[in-house]
């Protein structure tokens, strides 16, 4: 596919990610840092770090919430970490769900936490898929140049 068509596809994807609230201004900051700093792989590096962190944290949370007695302090610490990294990459929906999740931890609401984890997981998977598509399109555009 020609570079122009790929670029159009990429722009449409990014527009929809912003319009749906999946990502916020912080993600735009990352893009600007990449362009202004002349560091082509910067967004990919940050996105990859976020996805690896989130994957690991979600697995840890699932394991903690399966325990007969839930350690809500540990759960809260992991959610805090996920909230921080989602904020840094501009993952707005994941960040907002983490904020609600932390409240449920503080209330020691196990069922609520399990539901919040399911929402976070779904939102993260949706975002990760879009990030993967974005990076693939960027690589294809780069290959054409």
């Amino acid at each position: 596919m020609a570079a122009a068509a790929l670029r159009e596809q990429l722009n449409a994807l990014l527009s929809s990610m912003f319009a749906s609230g999946l990502v916020d201004d912080q993600f735009q900051q990352l893009q600007m840092l990449q362009e202004d700093g002349g560091t082509p792989g910067f967004v990919a590096e940050v996105v990859t770090l976020f996805c690896d962190d989130a994957d690991r944290i979600i697995s840890e949370l699932a394991a903690l919430l399966e325990q007969p007695i839930v350690d809500f302090d540990k759960v809260d610490a992991y959610v805090h970490q996920l909230k921080g990294s989602s904020a840094s990459v501009g993952a707005q929906k994941v960040k907002f769900t983490c904020m609600q999740f932390r409240q449920l931890c503080q209330d020691k609401n196990r069922d609520g936490c399990i539901m919040a984890l399911a929402v976070v997981r779904n939102e993260f998977y949706d975002l990760r898929n879009k990030f993967q598509t974005m990076l693939q399109l960027e690589q294809q555009i780069q290959a054409q140049q």
């Binding site: 912080q26 900051q29 990352l30 600007m32 840092l33 202004d36 700093g37 560091t39 910067f42 590096e45 940050v46 770090l49 976020f50 962190d53 610490a77 805090h80 970490q81 909230k83 921080g84 990294s85 904020a87 840094s88 990459v89």
Partner: protein
């Protein structure tokens, strides 16, 4: 000290942060916002204290520190750095942003606090405040 840094046009920053994603972002922002930066990184508060102790009082022009970290958190590191008599500006950086969280940093001896995520605007404000721009 801050005036000397501005004249030198290279600022020496100690970034204290245990998570790689936040370090990568801060590195990029610092290099973008500051003409010349020498950046040291510490993954725990204990390592930060050691770097400051080994480097001496004038080792850094600015210290930016996370709150929650393993081994030693940013509040305790701030307390220990101040106890050494080091007056380098220290800025707390955390996603815990309720007044008690900010207060903990200030009472430990930090000069300022900024909520995560770090951004160009926040960094420019910090650099201007401490005359490092």
């Amino acid at each position: 000290m801050a005036g000397a840094a501005a004249e030198r046009k290279v600022i020496r920053v100690l970034l204290v942060e245990d998570e790689e994603i936040h370090r990568v972002l801060a590195r990029a922002l610092l290099r973008s916002a500051v003409g010349g930066v020498e950046l040291d990184e510490a993954g725990t508060g204990a390592e930060a204290v050691r770097r400051v102790r080994d480097g001496g009082a004038g080792a850094y022009d600015l210290i930016i520190t996370d709150g929650k970290m393993p081994v030693m958190d940013g509040h305790e590191a701030t307390r220990q750095i101040r106890a050494m008599g080091v007056t380098t500006p220290i800025v707390g950086l955390s996603s815990d942003t309720l007044p008690p969280d900010v207060d903990t940093f200030i009472k430990a001896g930090a000069d300022d606090f900024t909520p995560k995520p770090l951004s160009k605007e926040k960094l420019v404000r910090i650099l201007a405040k401490f005359n490092l721009a």
